[in-house]
């Protein structure tokens, strides 16, 4: 085949591949395909209920909440009317489905009315249980129903002399059992826990709102912020100088998105600059180095196409981490392009065949290792496995095809002697010194500490956090409080678990813990069912109560409404009445109240706010997670890390087995000693330094082993020919170290962990190679 024909075929092949890839990428809906949602880093079918809860919470009203503080020109709280108009403007925008001034009692009124309406299903069971306990304690022989009628009448008489009687006087004809005052009394115990700063002489003007869309989506961010701006600007005509401070999950999500986008841009730019800088040092005619660019671009194109083909949704972090592909994909180009021909007339394909063994061995063992990441539980790692694995295959194919179209497929490099500049004895001495250092580092592995913290996935935003804490404090969110979420597969299960949490708080909190939640007004299923049985098994009770009321001087017809409602409850839906009543109550819960209870699939939950809560985690049988404790989530992340460790070790075994099969046991061990030694030595040193590691250091080490074993194989090929390490290895290692070193400068902790680990491993391996660790292979052949 003539060169022209080969060139035409090569360009045609690459052109078609590029066109198809570009077409695929052009028709993608990027808003739908690319996610910046941190929840997409967590498996959708996560089996740990804590994570399922977090996922649900994030998509439910809790995460859609926004908090606003309105101040006037002088910094003083804005007038209440401004808050009303601001809330109305937010609702009109359609970006918010709820907005209300905190001072507006409408939502409380709605709760009160619904509680009153459902008082028999929700409040009567708790009341009855308390009366049964009092009857048992009274050690009386009077039958319970008779005792209850007398006791209820006496309690009503006492209540009418209290200040609360004046507040409840209109309710009492329908509630002589004092169910509503009892509920208020139970709830107000916790009031101090949740009272916002509104109790101060100049209470802040606060507005609570709920986004119509997820705060993690575009719709929950930019349009919502624009609506807030419009609402504020609209009010400034009437309230000059009005300022609105706000916080919400969407503020953090938007900041994270902006930060990631910024990081993608500058990391890639600096990475390319770093690679070019290395190229400038090594390549005589830099413009010829531009031949490497199409290989890298085709590799990245292939990685994008394959990843977006395989996954319905890809996290943006994959592309941030994927920027490392630039440094890896260039390896094959370097090796192919910088290997001199055996003789001036050597055919290109003859050169390819000569280099096929190291190229294929390094590529396919690396790809096999990355393919193993597909078995990871974490979507991010699976996506990264496909991105890098397919990118490397594309890089190898692109390099082989592309350089077939280049007339002179040899890139001459400047000659640096590297380790060879030193006398053999010195090199031997340094190799021995390195071995001693390595042996000293190894025990450090036993000192390794792991810090699996979900916050490592966050983009640090200290200013936003400060503002968030300030605004939430005005809304009554104080650091001395603990928020518990008690979940269950159904409302009944969740309520049963809540009872266990309440008992645990009472016991472990030694009576000091104060808690508030809807558990105070929603009975346990057992209590509800017992109340249903009581009204059906004691039909004489209403008549007894009526008689006691009359004897105590109450009007005969004064409580008609109560007795009618009681009779309706007696013939009501029975056990099913609890769910019906709770759902009716939930339907009326708006504003912050709506966050106290969630009835849905796969989990329902109750929220409890506690002060002086025990510092330990609630026991498993309470099915409760603390919203302000990350331990449970970190425990799950720790599980992911252990899973990743097993995957990495299996991947290493595959890569190692590939090397052993290709190069035999003795040489294979020597070749594989470089990546393994660098990895163990680095981790040992980090152990001695006390630097805590996480899942992403582990992932970095796995990447590092896959990369450095390429250098080891390429160097071994030269060693067999009694040649020094090829310049392409040195250049490749330095470009990789440069691009990963750039990742180590990232503001995202996990990216930093990954970048620094790989960069250090590559540098260590290069040092080993420069000191001719593999030179012995040539002596034996």
């Amino acid at each position: 085949m003539t060169f022209r024909r080969r060139q035409f075929l090569g360009w045609g092949l690459l052109g078609v591949a590029t066109l198809l890839g570009a077409l695929w990428l052009a028709r993608l809906d990027y808003a739908q395909k690319i996610s910046s949602d941190v929840l997409d880093l967590i498996p959708a079918d996560e089996r740990a209920p804590e994570l399922a809860l977090v996922r649900q919470l994030a998509s439910q009203a809790e995460a859609r909440t926004m908090f606003f503080v309105l101040t006037g020109a002088d910094g003083a709280p804005a007038p209440a009317a401004a808050a009303e108009r601001f809330a109305a403007a937010l609702i009109q925008s359609a970006d918010f489905d709820q907005a209300l001034p905190i001072a507006d009692p409408a939502s409380r009124d709605a709760l009160g009315r619904e509680l009153f309406s459902q008082r028999f299903a929700l409040l009567f069971p708790d009341w009855l249980r308390a009366r049964e306990a009092a009857h048992a304690a009274a050690t009386t022989t009077t039958p319970f129903a008779d005792w209850l009628a007398t006791d209820t009448t006496a309690a009503l008489g006492r209540f009418l002399a209290t200040p609360e009687a004046l507040v409840f006087q209109d309710v009492i004809p329908a509630d002589p059992l004092l169910l509503m005052p009892g509920a208020v009394d139970r709830l107000k115990v916790g009031l101090a826990l949740v009272q916002p700063a509104a109790a101060t002489p100049a209470p802040p003007t606060l507005v609570w709102a709920r986004l119509a869309a997820s705060p993690l989506s575009d719709a929950g961010q930019t349009p919502a912020f624009q609506s807030i701006e419009r609402a504020t600007a609209g009010l400034r005509a009437e309230y000059p100088g009005l300022a609105v401070a706000s916080t919400g999950v969407n503020r953090f999500a938007a900041a994270s998105r902006a930060r990631i986008e910024q990081e993608v841009t500058w990391l890639n730019l600096v990475s390319v600059a770093a690679v070019l800088a290395v190229g400038l040092v090594f390549i005589r005619r830099l413009h010829r180095g531009l031949h490497l660019v199409p290989v890298v671009l085709l590799s990245v194109l292939g990685a994008w196409v394959c990843t977006t083909l395989v996954f319905a949704r890809v996290h943006v972090l994959v592309f941030v981490l994927g920027s490392l592909l630039t440094g890896v994909a260039i390896d094959y180009g370097f090796y192919l392009f910088m290997q001199p021909p055996l003789h001036p007339d050597e055919d290109y394909w003859a050169k390819v065949r000569r280099l096929a063994k190291p190229l294929l061995a390094s590529c396919f063992t690396t790809v096999a290792g990355f393919a193993l990441l597909l078995f990871s539980e974490l979507p991010l790692i699976r996506q990264l496995g496909v991105f890098v694995g397919t990118g490397l295959v594309c890089a190898l194919v692109a390099a082989v095809v592309y350089f077939s179209t280049v007339k002179n497929s040899f890139l001459e490099a400047r000659v640096f002697r590297g380790g060879q500049a030193m006398p053999t004895g010195v090199r031997r001495g340094l190799r021995r010194l390195l071995l001693v250092v390595w042996l000293f580092a190894l025990p450090g592995l036993a000192r390794l500490t792991w810090n699996d913290d979900i916050r490592e996935l966050e983009i640090p935003s200290p200013e936003l956090k400060r503002e968030d804490a300030r605004i939430r404090a005005l809304f009554g969110d104080r650091s001395d409080r603990t928020v518990y979420l008690t979940y269950g597969a159904s409302l009944r299960e969740a309520r049963d678990s809540l009872e266990k949490l309440t008992a645990w708080l009472t016991t472990v909190g030694s009576g000091r813990t104060q808690a508030v939640g809807l558990g105070a007004v929603v009975p346990t299923p057992a209590d509800h069912d017992r109340a249903v049985r009581f009204v059906r098994e004691h039909p004489e009770f209403p008549a007894r109560l009526r008689a006691e009321f009359a004897a105590a001087g109450y009007d005969e017809g004064g409580f008609t409404v109560f007795f009618d409602d009681y009779a309706r409850f007696a013939v009501g839906p029975g056990a099913a009445g609890l769910e019906i009543a709770v759902r009716a109550l939930q339907a009326k819960l708006t504003g912050p109240l709506g966050l106290l209870l969630h009835d849905g699939q796969p989990l329902s939950w109750f929220v409890t706010v506690a002060r002086d809560a025990p510092t330990i985690t609630p026991p498993a049988e309470t099915h409760t997670v603390s919203a302000n404790q990350l331990q449970s989530l970190n425990r799950i992340f720790s599980r992911y890390r252990q899973s990743a460790l097993w995957l990495s070790l299996t991947g290493l075994a595959i890569v190692g087995a590939g090397v052993l099969l290709t190069y035999g046991l003795r040489d294979g061990v020597r070749i594989f000693a470089i990546p393994c030694g660098a990895c163990l030595g680095l981790f040992g040193a980090l152990g001695w330094l006390g630097h805590p590691l996480n899942l992403f250091h582990l992932l970095g080490a796995f990447l590092g082993v896959c990369l450095t074993h390429n250098y080891s194989i390429f160097t071994a090929t030269s060693a067999y020919l009694r040649e020094p390490p090829p310049v392409s290895v040195r250049m490749s290692a330095l470009t990789t170290a440069a691009s990963f070193g750039v990742l180590a400068l990232s503001g995202i902790p996990v990216v930093r962990a990954l970048g620094s680990t790989v960069a250090l491993m590559v540098v260590l391996s290069l040092v080993l190679i420069e000191f001719e660790h593999l030179a012995a292979l040539g002596k034996k052949s």
């Binding site: 809790e62 905190i102 001072a103 009692p105 409380r108 009124d109 709760l111 009160g112 009315r113 509680l115 009153f116 008489g157 006492r158 009418l160 002399a161 209290t162 200040p163 609360e164 009687a165 004046l166 507040v167 006087q169 209109d170 309710v171 009492i172 004809p173 509503m180 208020v184 709830l187 107000k188 916790g190 009031l191 826990l193 949740v194 009272q195 916002p196 509104a198 109790a199 002489p201 209470p203 606060l206 609570w208 809304f475 009554g476 969110d477 409080r481 928020v483 508030v516 001087g553 109450y554 009007d555 004064g558 409580f559 504003g591 912050p592 109240l593 966050l595 106290l596 929220v607 706010v609």
Partner: protein, 214 residues
């Protein structure tokens, strides 16, 4: 989720209440302006009034009860500290109304009434009545009054329908600078009447201030 001032279920139940009946005193002919010269001597007299203690009795009439519930105690009025009602029968309890709202002290400890704009307006009204602060009262109430020599009667009708439904109207009767009777009237069968005995002007001791005010 953390903002739960929801728990104030007190006056929200007012929405369930029937409309209050109007007292004959609250007729257009008796309407007075806050700065009405005919009442300024009383305003000045109340402004000069020292802190005072007085015995009081309270009758609560409920439409579902044939006889009123009777309570007794001592009231303390202070221009600076507000109003304190120390009930001695049937149970000992102290209710303090001041610029911060309502505080109840009883055997169970202290309970502050939850923040609620309607409750705040009603509580503020009682404090203002005892100070005879007609301009402040006129912001939330329509004012009606009659004088007969040194005797006088005032009626305060909430301007807001919601507050009117929740509180009804407040009727106050007195002689010179002494308040004799306060009535919070929802209807002819549903009202609270507080009868206040002759005031005993005397500065409150430190112990009294601590026990009966905040």
């Amino acid at each position: 989720m953390k903002r739960l001032s929801l728990l104030c279920l007190s006056l929200l139940l007012a929405a369930l209440a029937p409309a209050a009946e109007t007292d004959p005193l609250a007729a257009p002919a008796n309407r007075i302006a806050p700065g009405d010269p005919a009442w300024q001597d009383l305003v000045a007299s109340f402004a000069r009034r020292p802190d005072a203690t007085a015995d009081f009795s309270e009758q609560r009439f409920f439409p579902f009860k044939k006889t009123p519930v009777e309570l007794k105690g001592e009231s303390r009025v202070s221009a600076r500290h507000g109003l304190s009602l120390h009930y001695t029968a049937p149970e000992e309890r102290t209710v303090i109304l001041d610029t911060q709202g309502v505080l109840i002290r009883d055997a169970r400890g202290e309970t502050a009434a939850p923040a609620d704009p309607r409750a705040a307006a009603a509580n503020a009204a009682l404090v203002q009545v005892l100070r005879f602060d007609l301009p402040a009262l006129a912001e939330a109430f329509e004012l009606f009054g009659q004088r007969d020599g040194t005797a006088w009667k005032l009626a305060f009708v909430p301007r807001a329908a919601e507050l009117r439904r929740a509180v009804g109207q407040i009727l106050v009767a007195g002689n010179s600078d002494a308040v004799n009777r306060i009535e919070i009237r929802r209807s002819a069968k549903q009202f609270v009447a507080i009868l206040i005995g002759p005031p005993r002007p005397a500065p409150f001791t430190a112990d009294e201030l601590k026990r009966f005010f905040r």
